[in-house]
Symmetry: D2
Subunit: 369 residues, 4 copies
């Protein structure tokens, strides 16, 4: 039971290793009739793929997706959609020395202890490369949610190491390699990364991701709260160490009189809740932030042990992202889309398609909490 399926009703089963012949996923439960071709998916894959700037791994893969099933004459049939991405640039020699040692901060030690053996090539199953099929599946979810509910997803980087990135405009995000919503800060970010690379070190990042145009009523009261499933999805992304919704950790120091978002005939007056109350979506923007740890694979030598328990020193060469957070934005968007998609289907299983007659409450107001 290796935990490779995401979702209850829009089920995505992920397979593959970094340096095997292929990676991919099978989406089970997609509604029929959705117009879908590889073009709909490739866009988000291109946003995530390596080799697009000098600040990410120089592994060079087109990440071209092939739809193997579930689509007939350009429309989903309601049966499983298999998405395949061939691995084309596996230089296994880069990783030869890691078979016998455990890189600090890596999954080497835990995989070996869990399974008794591991695929060391490029990190095998623990590689961030396995997020590519999730981005592909997320693109399918995004398309259905946009067409059905008008829901959209947007992520950006809000901190790169100690550099805070104030939100200026969503228009800046696609025009720099950091997904930064602030054009003026891009030279600072470039300089920060160049210095890190020169030092052979790596840094963390914070990503913010939002869903707008949310249907009201998604989520469940107890365990499968919408925010609980978001936390699960986000913490499942490689290198994520923290997740917060709405006010998040800031809520510790808030007062109830301040935190509880007022309802007005025109909608909620604020969004400290981050779009979820009692585990169920309010219709406001979902507001999610995640903390991403610094890349574990660094050039600087670090003491460790080998499989015999003897001391050794590990230096990681090869091609690595000096900040894995840089490519995390489209991944976080995809995971959020998968959660919302799954809950949209779950909601209509129990409650049907018909929306309740509701008073004219404007669903959402933009802006941070």
């Amino acid at each position: 039971m290796s935990g490779s399926t995401f979702g209850e009703l829009f089920r995505v089963t992920n397979f593959g290793e970094s340096h095997g012949p292929a990676i991919g996923c099978v989406i089970d439960g997609c509604p029929p009739g959705l117009a879908l071709t590889e073009v709909d998916i490739q866009g988000d894959l291109d946003r995530r793929r390596p080799g697009t700037s000098r600040h990410v791994t120089q592994r060079n893969e087109p990440d071209a997706v092939e739809i193997l099933s579930g689509v007939y004459e350009g429309r989903t049939t309601g049966t499983p959609i298999c998405l395949l991405i061939r691995n084309t640039d596996q230089r296994s020699k880069d990783y030869g020395n890691i078979l016998d040692t455990f890189r600090p901060g890596h999954a080497d030690y835990t995989y070996w202890r869990k399974y008794g053996l591991r695929d060391p090539r490029g990190g095998g199953r623990s590689s961030a490369r396995l997020t590519a099929p999730m981005v592909a599946a997320g693109a399918v979810a995004k398309k259905w949610l946009l067409e059905k509910h008008g829901t959209t997803f947007l992520g950006w980087m809000s901190a790169l190491g100690e550099v805070e990135i104030p939100f200026e405009s969503a228009e800046h995000i696609p025009h720099n390699p950091f997904f930064a919503p602030n054009a003026a800060l891009v030279p600072t970010l470039e300089a920060h990364m160049d210095a890190l690379r020169k030092a052979g070190d790596s840094c963390g990042a914070r990503i913010e991701v939002r869903a707008s145009g949310m249907p009201v009523g998604l989520g469940a009261p107890l365990f499968d709260k919408l925010d609980a499933d978001i936390a699960y999805a986000m913490m499942g992304i490689n290198a994520v160490k923290g997740v917060e919704i709405g006010s998040g950790f800031g809520t510790v120091q808030e007062r109830g009189s301040q935190h509880g978002d007022e309802l007005t005939p025109e909608g909620f007056a604020s969004n400290h809740a981050g779009g979820v109350l009692g585990g169920i979506s309010t219709g406001q923007d979902l507001v999610v932030r995640i903390a991403i740890k610094p890349t574990s694979s660094i050039r600087l030598p670090k003491p460790s042990i080998d499989r015999q328990g003897q001391p050794t020193v590990v230096e990681t060469h090869g091609r690595h992202d000096p900040c894995v957070g840089i490519r995390a934005t489209p991944i976080a968007e995809a995971m959020l889309a998968l959660v919302v998609m799954d809950h949209a289907l779950r909601h209509r299983a129990q409650n049907g398609d018909v929306q309740l007659a509701v008073p004219p409450i404007a669903a959402a107001r933009p802006g941070t909490p």
Copy 2:
């Protein structure tokens, strides 16, 4: 599909509402042969129950648990264990006025939009009272994990509103109503709460919870990472808005050279990872922190709307915790125990009972990351 079952192999199905006749849960998948009586469960329930100090709700319930099934002559039989807790102090009149209005920060609005109707008595299903069956189930998991693996769980409050609570000693925790690991600060906390109550307001809190004596190898590579399931479990607790593991959000500003915990022949030299690498337990302490929002039910009046979308003002009387975080410590322990329990069973499903022959690496070192 209302999301009321937690876990894959140690499955806990929760039922009940705050003011219905009873709450409880069914545990399916418990290993047979575990010695179990109500006494094993009542202790943690008593730590969580209301009415134990002036700082929590004055609702007065014994929360006495009854084992209805799955135990024969004091041992679990491997079949479902039903735990029942009768509700005995429901004063429905306290909540009469909330049927038609939506309390800011509450689930009133979202339940009504999702289901078209709701049980308003005491918050119905959204009440924190529904954490009692989880604490009961967690006590069963704790007992098995202690006997089988020697694993223990410990939680405490690390911040009450703006008051930070430095860790002094675990010995202080059971001796104050806040689960504070610092005796000297208790008067400050008491004063803080008294002022809040006088003001008719509420505040947030931060809880830390740890598992020690962890088996190595629990978790799964991709989605069902141990930390992802922890995030899901914690964010599923009422009022939680943030979860972090190990360095958590602090990791954003760490360097890779600093964050990656060194392995030595005597064990890991630090625990920035919080006990999880690549989604799998390292054997070190699991280190988890959660942010809890201020109670939404406050005496101060707040503007809101009614079911017709018309403006109104909400004042909440009745019995409420001015800081829901105060009773959250045993809940967080229980949820962490349920996650570890489930993964312990999942691990042996795939890998069997036999431990790998391993070099003598000390598994854990105490202390914060």
Copy 3:
């Protein structure tokens, strides 16, 4: 993982043992707004309960159901519905001698080997008494399906041992203790049972159960075929050894030219398929038959072994049904209703509530295949 939850979206978790304090179930995922009281459930429970004629066990229990949660002011709220049935007539002494020996045909041996211990009182978890909560849950499903889709369920006995019971009229079914659709045969059935009881032996039975007014399109192409889930549900009933749909085993000797049901503008011209094609409902009646083995608990002595592997002889006294098939009819109806209910929710998760515009094909024609 003791397999006590039935269904994916209308999830029924069953708990209890024959001679414990109570049995019951938790229904998770019930659509909100369904009018529901104990009265809606008690009717089917009364059809199933023991002690109603001299041909079934003389255990005398009212099987009174109590709704503990999930219903507010007579309507389901969408949250878990806990149904509790207290055990009131446990005469444990009847079963004292079976703790150390294995009754032939019983679960005694397998439970002991699986779990290392077992609750021997009345068969513990293996007792047919555990079908009562399924009948209760089935009553909820039946009510929703009737109101939403007009679907109805009807079962009857079609063979008692070697006595075939030709279908005369559904009107006879409620007027005899056998659920026989043939009044003229009732004296024969009475005589058959009296002879068996005198001989201290037991016999098998065949039950037929149908759903009429079926929605078209329920089921899934591959594994979760509607008929596959029906087979799973039926074979899960105590003592069932065979399941067939439509022509069933008779299909082995049919020709394709004969078996394939013709479609006409007025509907299907026959129903060899039993209401399912390719795993998906056609809208015709679901036609299901099950074979039930003779009760294992008989008065006649049988050789067996004890827990030390030594030969012994087992005679079972106490209160037993000489044909467990007699009370199986309402159980089979309930299980069929649960399958249809679950697939109704699954269908609308993926396909929404809206029915396709279809040509005027009459959905069903009555009559056996």
Copy 4:
């Protein structure tokens, strides 16, 4: 939620359509360390594949399997195993006329009603071709079960239409195209098929499949009984209309004194139970029989309707099996192996690897019940 995943812990997710680019499956939860190459899988695929005799479809495909993930240096790693089979002989033109009409006995009508559209090429997802990935996954399960428990699987044809095939010897099975355990009857079976083909018609079949060397204690008391999961697995195979275990429908006419298998110090004295008591394996052979309906695609013209509900006549040309039961034997073996595999993992999740100390009861005795 299109029901394309089989199993709880050894989870097989199937994808593909008859005439798409590829079919395949992803196995999640396979224990690590199992030696596995394509050769281990290809053998069973070759037993199932088309074109091997004149009595099955002349579609000519090598059904060559490719392992895309989950295996490193010839051993399973514990991560998902993706098995891919490219489709190489899709003659879509053969099926052009079926887009607008509904073939009697086929899934054409139900798919169209469920999804609003369908892939008509070769039956799309409803094609028996989709059993190939199940056979592949079953081969992996068989290998693990053989190595771990010594369990083996054997199926055969016991009736072809009205021709009963008495069991002579397992040695005959691999030496004729029918999987018949009786060499003397093969000419009769050949003649039967030749006559059918000449007539443009098709016939049904009955298959028996057994597991020997079964571990004791697999299965669960209530819903996930081993036999219930077997029924689900078997009824999920294309064209299956009936399933029975042990005495099956014959049990209706048995007496309790006859049916209950005696236990002796040397083992059970008979096997009417078919290897399952109370839903849990006894250690005896699992004995399963299934009824397979005649192929729906026949050359003989049949009246039907088109998508506008107008009368039409359907004649199916193209390449079809005149008896789909002929190739069903390896499929039934594979499905039985998948059920046993899943329950083997589920058992050790709850009960661990250690076998109970048991008295020397010989587990199984061969022979029909």
